[in-house]
């Protein structure tokens, strides 16, 4: 599997291969099933969860509405505390800024804190092109990197791998691994720890993302489980933090809400083991140079969409992935983006546009079962956005002279349903052809491959009513 998402096929095609991958199916069933149960337990412990969730949504909405103001406030606070703020319109600009910043230090290696924003902009590849090696230090992210694979989950990028596979990856790609490495979880973690410890001690530059940026003080916040992030954030001389512009919260009081929502939703913990916060630079303590790169990369476009903008509330907890029945069968790769699952299905087409076959197919990669909306800690109505994106796609095609087959079928259905006489006629025609319908393949190919096709009733309900009850209302 290559490290890039370019030229990905539409979701149904990628999904076909994924559902046939038996090991992937069993890994995902186990992993998502476990985390789903644990999340439900820790969320049920709080009797004010509904209020917290509403508060989380309201704070994010407020911040997004006044984003211009809060971004400036953040920049001023960071600058006042001794940091430097850079603005990046898109991925290319962000990568250029970061590459230049690393070059200025003269270093050719950086350590990285697990970060979705840097994945989104493809930073590692951009740095590699400039001769700079970026080492992932999150355990699961490291596994993916060593395997030259792509992440398949927001929180657990190697969720598609089991321990035996991870041992093989380590043996193959980790230079300093013991020859007799077992697939015991402790042994694997120990091997990774020794490998990473050498990187931490040598690194002079670190790159991080952030979970939150507090506008009032210019403070950046990372929540993590392993402590590897803390190493990156404190030991190097230079810290470059990449921040999607939707990561802002106005105040520390607002942050409190999210520090309750995020751990319970993502790792099913009451509190995550490590919460790091940093504000500018402090002589003799921690990195002496702090660069903050604020990245738009399509976000202001999303903000302009009245329905779609709620996707920007996302705090990347991955609860929606873990409950999604489609994700559970397919895994993350078929979504063709660092954002898989339900949130990916609404975020990727909005950030990248729907010109490509993959992006255009994502709004349909859902049964609209609603499980994602129910667990989302910031109440993003994902089914609502999916349907909205479908409607936008349909409306964009209306300008074409020749209708698509689907549009023709939908128009025909709407005409048939336009009145009881038309519907009755269609029902009688279907009843006459009912034996044929059972054998129909096209246009029901996708259905009939594995499922029997129901036959229309010989007499519709309305015909039965008229025959047995005479006149209707």
């Amino acid at each position: 599997m290559s490290g890039t998402y370019l030229g990905m096929p539409a979701f149904p095609r990628a999904a076909r291969a994924a559902v046939a991958d038996t090991q992937l199916r069993r890994n995902l069933e186990h992993a998502t099933g476990t985390i789903r149960g644990r999340r439900a337990e820790v969320v049920a412990e709080l009797d004010d969860w509904a209020e917290l969730r509403a508060a989380g949504a309201a704070i994010k909405d407020h911040t997004l509405r006044h984003l211009d103001r809060y971004l400036v406030q953040l920049e001023e606070a960071i600058t006042a505390a001794g940091g430097t703020v850079h603005w990046a319109r898109d991925a290319a600009e962000a990568n250029r800024i970061i590459t230049d910043l690393v070059r200025e230090t003269g270093e050719t290696e950086v350590v990285k804190v697990k970060s979705m924003a840097t994945q989104e902009i493809g930073l590692n590849d951009a740095l590699a092109e400039a001769g700079i090696m970026a080492w992932e230090t999150d355990l699961a992210e490291l596994i993916v990197q060593l395997d030259r694979d792509r992440p398949s989950h927001i929180l657990v990028p190697a969720i598609h791998r089991n321990r035996a596979e991870i041992r093989e990856i380590f043996r193959r790609a980790m230079a300093d691994v013991p020859a007799d490495l077992s697939d015991d979880a402790t042994a694997l973690a120990e091997a990774a720890r020794r490998h990473l410890r050498r990187k931490f001690l040598a690194a002079r530059v670190a790159v991080s993302g952030v979970n939150f940026a507090v506008a009032e003080t210019g403070t950046l916040v990372v929540l993590e489980s392993e402590g590897n992030g803390r190493m990156c954030l404190t030991m190097p001389d230079t810290l470059i933090s990449v921040v999607g512009i939707e990561k802002l919260v106005p105040t520390w009081a607002d942050l409190e809400v999210f520090l309750q929502l995020l751990p319970r939703s993502s790792t099913a913990e009451r509190m995550n083991p490590y919460t790091s916060t940093w504000t500018g630079v402090h002589p003799g303590d921690g990195p002496q140079a702090l660069h903050v790169v604020l990245v738009d990369n399509g976000r202001t476009g999303v903000l302009a969409d009245r329905v779609g903008r709620q996707a920007l509330r996302c705090i990347r907890c991955s609860a929606c992935l873990n409950v999604c029945p489609v994700y559970e069968r397919v895994g993350g790769h078929a979504y063709g983006s660092v954002y898989p699952g339900p949130i990916g299905a609404i975020l990727t087409p909005q950030l990248r546009g729907t010109a490509g076959p993959l992006e255009a197919s994502l709004p349909y990669a859902s049964t609209l079962c609603g499980a994602c909306y129910e667990v989302c800690p910031v109440a993003i109505d994902i089914p609502e956005v999916l349907v909205h994106l479908r409607a936008k796609a349909v409306d964009a095609k209306r300008r074409r002279v020749l209708p698509t087959a689907e549009r023709a079928a939908m128009a025909a259905a709407a005409w048939t349903l336009g009145g009881p006489r038309r519907l009755g006629m269609a029902q009688r025609a279907a009843a006459r052809a009912r034996r044929l319908v059972g054998r129909l393949r096209w246009p029901l190919t996708g259905w009939a491959e594995s499922r029997d096709v129901p036959t229309p009733a010989p007499e519709s309900f309305r015909a039965w009513w008229r025959r047995t009850r005479g006149r209707t209302e």
Binding site: S366, G370, A413, L417, L423, R435, P454, S460, T472, E473
Partner: protein
Amino acid sequence: MRIGLFITCFNDTLFPRTGKAVTALLERLGHTVVFPAEQTCCGQMHLNTGYQREAIPLVRRFARAFADLDAIVTPSASCAGTVRDHHARVAESAGDDRLATEVADIAPRVYELTEFLVDVLGVTDVGAAFPHRVTYHPTCHSLRALRLGDRPLRLLREVRGIELVDLPHADECCGFGGTFAMKNPDVSVAMGTDKLRHVLSTRAEVLCAADNSCLMHLGGLLSRLRAGTRVMHLAEILAAEEKAMSPARPHHRAPGARRTEHV
């Protein structure tokens, strides 16, 4: 109380016996049911697939057909959900204030069958008899859009002779999802297969639900597998009586099998 039956276009055409069951059931409970002939469809398929504009006349027609009824009862959780949760938005997007008022007026009077029985009529024992081993699948719209909760189970528990067994992992989607079943057939079938694994583990003879659409998907898989378990809308179980206890025929005709009547 004037009770109008909203049959839904899908049941009207493919599963009329569900409509007959609802009618028989409500009449057995002493009510008169009317069938407004002007009704066709709530627009769910169009709305969920992104054809909002095509849905506008359907919403208009729905509002007109059911305007003067006290209660509108439907054997479909997903269509009830469409009317209650989406018609208002359609009216708004059409910029039609009168329609918006009509829709807001009608929505609270639309009930899925088990809601109507339990909440409005206040019954759980509807006098049914169905001596079979049955499991109930709460469809996503039953569960998350309408929040039917245990209403269907309370009704089923009172059915004489029934052997009701819990469905493991009941709250997981079956994989139907309307056009999803056609646009993403592989994932749809994978989800359906996992659902069936749980259904078959109950060793139930009958799988029931409040939506024939999901049952059509699961029933289509079951009959293809010759699994020996059939699907039935729960209205048909609630309508079943002591005297008419011959097993109902399967929804689906196996290819190559002799013709089976649908009524």
